[in-house]
Subunit: 213 residues, 2 copies
DNA sequence: GTCTATACCTCGATAGAC
DNA sequence: GTCTATCGAGGTATAGAC
């Protein structure tokens, strides 16, 4: 029996890559937890390394610099959120889009690190030369695009009234999400993001929903 | 002609205090501008000193440490905001309270540093041992108290429906304010906080306002 | 792939002269 | 009231051994 050429080397590479990937994933997780409470600026890669069980240089073997670590963290967050929201299929449209926001908030209420991460990083990233600045702008733009499309589709199917002020509702909805997260990070036990958001969404529906449907 | 005892000394003290106060005020202004773009953690007192026209030690003569500088900045912001909102008289109640929020946002739209300052600091301050943590908690609590009282009073006078979900509306309104500020700091030219907030407030009124009045 | 050692920087705060 | 000088801590990143 013979192996295809290069098999041994391939196998070896895969094994080591896998070991490396475990350390990498562990580091990303540690970074998420640290960034979520201390933000990016104030967090040190040494502390991330410590929580990962590596030395600082050991960590920097997996990420060339601090910025690369941040990038990996943001990619992970973006990936998990969009998988939850859109899964395999198409993005929900009409009021269903707003319902899925509620579902996302419900899920994230059980993952405080994720809310903290977003609140801290997106505030820091308003600075033009922050390494997450472009990510933040992209995140807002794509969210606005999706919600705009959702409302337009709702108008088309008739479940949303045609004279709805689309842009304002899109921005206000995002604002409520962000603002509730901010309050929740400050005092998690004093409120339910889901309950508050539901009131807002009911209000939206009663103001702009088609009463015929 | 004789002077009251200690007059000369008093006069001297006032003169020097005044000179000191000018440097102090200038430093606070410089700190506001720097903190509003870089946040507190990332800003250095050396940079504040530079913009003030002092050396680092010169600045630290007026503020014992960096925290004291932050405190002075926050006191200034709180003072100006509450003077604008409440002035000499009593706090506005009922729907008038929400109108005055709109007026505040309109004014602050012309002072980007103030919005930036709040967005950056309040996000950083969600960390429990951040020097502005208590300030942030107090700020939210007192805002909630005022708005809660405003709605209760509106119910009493009949301009607000009695079955309004008070807590949720208070928190959502604060969330919209904070969230719009966040978006505006990220991209000031892409939106009008006043226009978006007005849509939200109209929605509130149409959902919970008494149609009889 | 992980480590130790280290270069180099920035920061907050203090000491002490003027 | 403001300055220069300096200390000590903590940060990112690199060099090089294993």
């Amino acid at each position: 029996m013979s192996y295809p050429p290069g098999y041994r080397i391939e196998r070896e590479r895969n094994r080591t890559e896998k070991a490396g990937d475990i350390a990498r994933a562990k580091a990303i997780q540690a970074a998420i937890e640290l960034f979520s409470t201390s933000g990016y600026n104030k967090s040190s890669i040494a502390e991330v390394a410590l929580r990962t069980g590596l030395s600082q240089s050991g960590l920097l073997h997996h990420f060339p610099n601090k910025t690369a670590l941040l990038t990996a963290v943001l990619e992970q967050r973006e990936k998990e959120d969009s998988e939850f929201l859109f899964g395999e299929g198409a993005a929900p449209l009409g009021w269903a889009a707003f319902d899925s926001l509620l579902a996302l908030v419900a899920r994230n209420s059980t993952r405080p690190e994720w809310i903290g991460l977003f609140v801290r990083i997106s505030a820091e990233a308003t600075e033009a030369n922050h390494p997450a600045n472009q990510w933040m702008l992209d995140h807002y733009r794509s969210t606005r695009q999706w919600l705009t499309q959702a409302i337009e589709d709702g108008k088309r199917t008739g479940e949303i009234l045609p004279d709805v002020p689309v842009d304002a509702i899109v921005r206000n909805t995002i604002a409520v999400l962000d603002g509730l997260q901010q309050q929740w990070v400050a005092e998690p036990d004093s409120m339910s993001m889901v309950a508050e958001l539901r009131v807002y969404l009911d209000q939206l529906r009663s103001a702009w929903g088609n009463p015929q449907q």
